[in-house]
């Protein structure tokens, strides 16, 4: 009686490849695979022909050859005789450095502006939306150039700080703002300084341990242990004790106006390109983060705040115990993709001459060795690894934080 009947077995006709839904997707995929292979082969044969015509080959041997150029800001030892690979590593570390610094400050700016955009104060609200709109709608490259120009064109030369009776004094006797960058004190690691650092790390671990112990006590017995001042004490006291017991092993190397007649000596110089890039990425991305933060806080239903107040929580606790944990769930995923954007935008370093991976491997190494394909591939590989790592982390976090529903 059934009007449906199984398709007859064994009677395969060629037209079924297109008309039968069991085979059609297979057919289409085979066609797509053929087209793809054809396209790839076409590109590859062009590449091979072009390389043959230019007398080139693909080889990564240049990485071992001396780079032959200097880099002004390095985190590890480097000179012009080091290999191209080492130059690339210097670039990678510089990229990570500026990305890390910019992520921290962009978060600070963003949270600050985002919270203030929800302020009761009309003027503050308007000022913050002005900040957000101005910085979001102007290309980050222009911001980088503007801040770099502020650094190089309006700051005094190092000469202004030199001599017995300088035109300008060091700020707090420690910081000098010059057109080549900012001079800050450098730590000197004497013998025993590692012990102090170890004590400090241990006390951070101690703070976390104490907090989880306090939480356990609270959940088990209902007794609320104070966590505020013990944490601070735990963080500071052992380190300070160790510092003085070991005879002050960590010193500061101050910028010295008298050491040399031409430039400041001593201390660490943070180059103007790094500062321009760092600051520009921070304020630019901060504007985006401000919007994410605002959206996150507004996403928490009003009833939540009212319910918390009805339970008798004070406004600070309403924020920290009820609103923020729920808002963070909304804020963090876009926040992490902003971090990813910072990392990718840090490649604009090349515009102001900061030696990140794009400027070393993709800039100078590429032009001195002429290994365009290899350099660009390595460059893309590096950024891909960073992006995939961060987005994997984000997925794990999202899955852990996802609202557990039925």
């Amino acid at each position: 009686m059934s009007t449906l009947s199984d398709p007859q077995q064994g009677s395969f006709r060629l037209s079924m490849l297109l008309n039968d839904s069991r085979y059609r997707s297979m057919t289409l995929q085979v066609i797509a695979a053929l087209l793809l292979a054809l396209a790839l082969f076409y590109l590859y044969s062009n590449l091979a022909a072009n390389l043959r015509a230019a007398g080139l080959n693909i080889s990564f041997a240049f990485l071992g050859a001396p780079a032959g150029y200097d880099i002004n800001q390095t985190l590890i030892d480097y000179n012009s005789q080091s290999t191209n690979l080492r130059a690339a590593v210097v670039g990678i570390l510089n990229t990570l450095l500026v990305a890390f610094l910019a992520c921290v400050t962009a978060t600070v700016f963003g949270v600050f502006a985002g919270v203030l955009r929800l302020s009761n104060n009309w003027l503050v609200r308007k000022l913050m939306s002005f900040y957000v709109e101005i910085f979001r709608n102007i290309p980050v490259l222009i911001w980088i150039i503007i801040i770099f120009t502020i650094m190089t064109a309006t700051m005094p030369g190092a000469r202004a700080y030199l001599g017995e009776d300088p035109e300008k004094d060091l700020l707090l006797g420690m910081f000098a703002f010059t057109n080549r960058g900012v001079f800050i004190p450098a730590p000197i690691w004497n013998e025993g300084s590692m012990v102090v650092v170890a004590v400090f790390l241990a006390s951070i671990a101690g703070v976390f341990a104490f907090r989880s112990y306090a939480r356990k006590v609270l959940f088990d017995t209902g007794r609320l242990l104070p966590t505020g001042w013990p944490s601070v004490a735990l963080l500071i006291v052992p380190t300070v004790l160790a510092f003085f017991v070991l005879g002050q092993p960590i010193g500061l190397d101050m910028p010295d106006p008298l050491g040399n007649r031409f430039n400041l000596t001593g201390g660490t110089q943070i180059g103007a390109p790094l500062i321009a890039l760092w600051f520009a990425l921070s304020i630019y991305t901060g504007a985006f983060i401000a919007e994410n933060v605002r959206a996150g806080i507004q996403a928490v239903a009003r009833g939540q705040t009212e319910a918390a107040s009805a339970l008798g929580l004070r406004p600070g606790r309403v924020m920290s115990l009820v609103v923020l944990p729920q808002a963070l769930r909304v804020i963090i995923p876009p926040l992490i993709s902003q971090y990813l954007n910072i990392t990718k935008n840090s490649s604009l370093a090349i515009a102001v001459g900061y030696a990140d991976i794009t400027a070393t491997l993709g800039g100078i190494t590429l032009s001195t060795t002429g290994r365009a394909i290899e350099c660009v591939l390595l460059l893309m590989g590096f950024y891909l690894i960073i992006s995939l790592t961060i987005s994997t982390g984000m997925n794990i976090y999202n899955n852990r934080m996802k609202l557990k529903e039925r």
């Binding site: 997707s25 289409l28 022909a49 302020s119 009761n120 003027l123 000022l127 990718k344 394909i373 460059l379």
Partner: protein
């Protein structure tokens, strides 16, 4: 209506008092200021601090702008006019205006051509942006790319006409066959267009006059803000169809197609635009046939289009995922096949949801077109950092130039985002 009360009570008001205005501290600007500026002590402090910041910014910039000099020919002359007072030398903008807008190698006698194309662009964009305008205007939009190409690059008019002809042929084939089968119509149209272009290539080569009506201008002569706008508009409009295709491919049930799309999207989104521009400038030429010369502008367009298509694909994927599953099932139960369901049911709704996201990508992309200055194309930023600041006349005029560039980008990007908010309200068909 008894009058006993008026006798028993000492006083009864018989007339209504006219309504009094609220006390001055409970209404009007005073109340507003108390509520919004001085509600609490910390709030008042914030207000005062903000006022101080605004005061500092205004006193720092307003006199500088107000006293600006607009009509000198070099920085030294401008400094003479200013006589040591601190004010802007806006004369760099007036003197180098054409360079900022058109670049420094575009022939000055042909500036009217891109200007005309710009006017035409406004006319062509109007029916796309505002639905209330008559739909017939869309014909102008369709003609715009070909006319703009002819105006800006010049050369024989036969090239854009042949290109347009290919599309017309493709459209007729598509319209003829789409009722039977979408795939037949689509691929038939594409094949017909390719054949038409291949044939008309010979025709154009044979018929093209020696001296075309508009002198041909090579792409490397394009520059200035015009280059930013051209890159922005070309790449956004090319990447929307590509992005739709990628988004649909990523949702496909065919593993091969799905994984090709996923790899493409994740790869492009994982690398910075600069590396893709490096590919365009130093690497892409290796992948073309040895005899072909593909100019840098086209290579950059290819890479930026790929870049923004990947981002647009993710936005549209969000739109597709946001549609209730019932819409897909309803389309299936009506007996629509995949292309019909997508064209008639799914995409119109999904694209509507995706509009704000797409506009965000478009704004971001327009800002990112400034990156081409890194691979030594002279867009607006490239012009400022290169020829203008390096010239002896204007060496050292930073703020006027950078401020102008920032202002121009701000106006365009802010305008687009305001439009997108208006569009979002306009398209909202749900009842709230």
């Amino acid at each position: 209506m008894s009058d006993t009360h008026s006798h028993s009570a000492a006083f009864v008001r018989t007339k209504e008092i006219p309504q009094q205005p609220a006390p001055s501290n409970a209404a009007g600007p005073v109340k507003w200021a108390r509520d919004n500026l001085f509600a609490t002590w910390p709030n008042a402090l914030l207000t005062v601090a903000s006022l101080y910041v605004i005061f500092l910014i205004l006193t720092g910039t307003l006199p500088w702008i107000w006293n600006g000099v607009w009509n000198t020919t070099s920085l030294s002359e401008c400094r003479e006019v200013l006589q040591g007072t601190s004010a802007a030398c806006f004369s760099v903008l007036t003197e180098r205006w054409n360079q900022l807008i058109f670049g420094f190698t575009y022939p000055s006698e042909y500036y009217w051509r891109p200007t005309l194309a710009f006017v035409f662009m406004i006319v062509a964009l109007a029916p796309v942006l505002f639905f209330d305008l008559p739909r017939k205007l869309l014909i102008l939009t369709g003609l715009f790319p070909f006319v703009a190409y002819w105006l800006i690059w010049g050369g024989t008019i036969l090239t854009p006409v042949a290109a347009l002809g290919g599309f017309v042929v493709a459209y007729f084939i598509y319209a003829r066959f789409v009722a039977q089968n979408f795939a037949l119509g689509f691929f038939g149209g594409a094949a017909a267009a390719l054949v038409f272009w291949w044939l008309s290539g010979f025709a154009v080569a044979a018929l093209a006059p020696q001296t075309p009506l508009l002198t041909a201008i090579p792409s490397r002569d394009l520059g200035g803000f015009m280059l930013n706008m051209m890159l922005g508009i070309t790449c956004v409009s090319l990447s929307i169809p590509l992005g739709i295709a990628l988004a649909l491919g990523r949702q496909s049930s065919m593993p091969l197609i799905k994984w090709v799309c996923v790899i493409f999207i994740e790869f492009v989104r994982g690398v910075p635009l600069i590396t893709l521009l490096f590919v365009a400038s130093v690497m892409l030429a290796y992948f073309f046939p040895p005899e072909a010369t593909v100019d840098l502008f086209l290579r950059v367009v290819i890479m930026i289009t790929m870049f923004s298509a990947a981002y647009i694909a993710e936005v549209i994927r969000g739109g597709l995922a946001a549609l209730p599953k019932g819409q897909y099932e309803a389309a299936d139960s009506l007996g629509l096949d995949y292309p019909q369901a997508m064209r008639l049911i799914i995409l119109p709704q999904a694209l509507k949801i995706s509009i704000p996201g797409i506009v965000n990508i478009a704004v971001g992309l327009f800002k990112d077109t400034t990156l081409v200055s890194v691979i030594s194309m002279f867009d607006m930023v490239g012009m400022i950092r290169g020829p203008i600041l390096a010239s002896t006349d204007w060496n050292g005029v930073y703020w006027e130039l950078l401020g102008f560039a920032a202002l121009l980008f701000f106006v365009v990007c802010y305008g687009i985002s305001q439009y997108s908010q208006w569009l979002e309200r306009r398209l909202a068909t749900d009842h709230r």
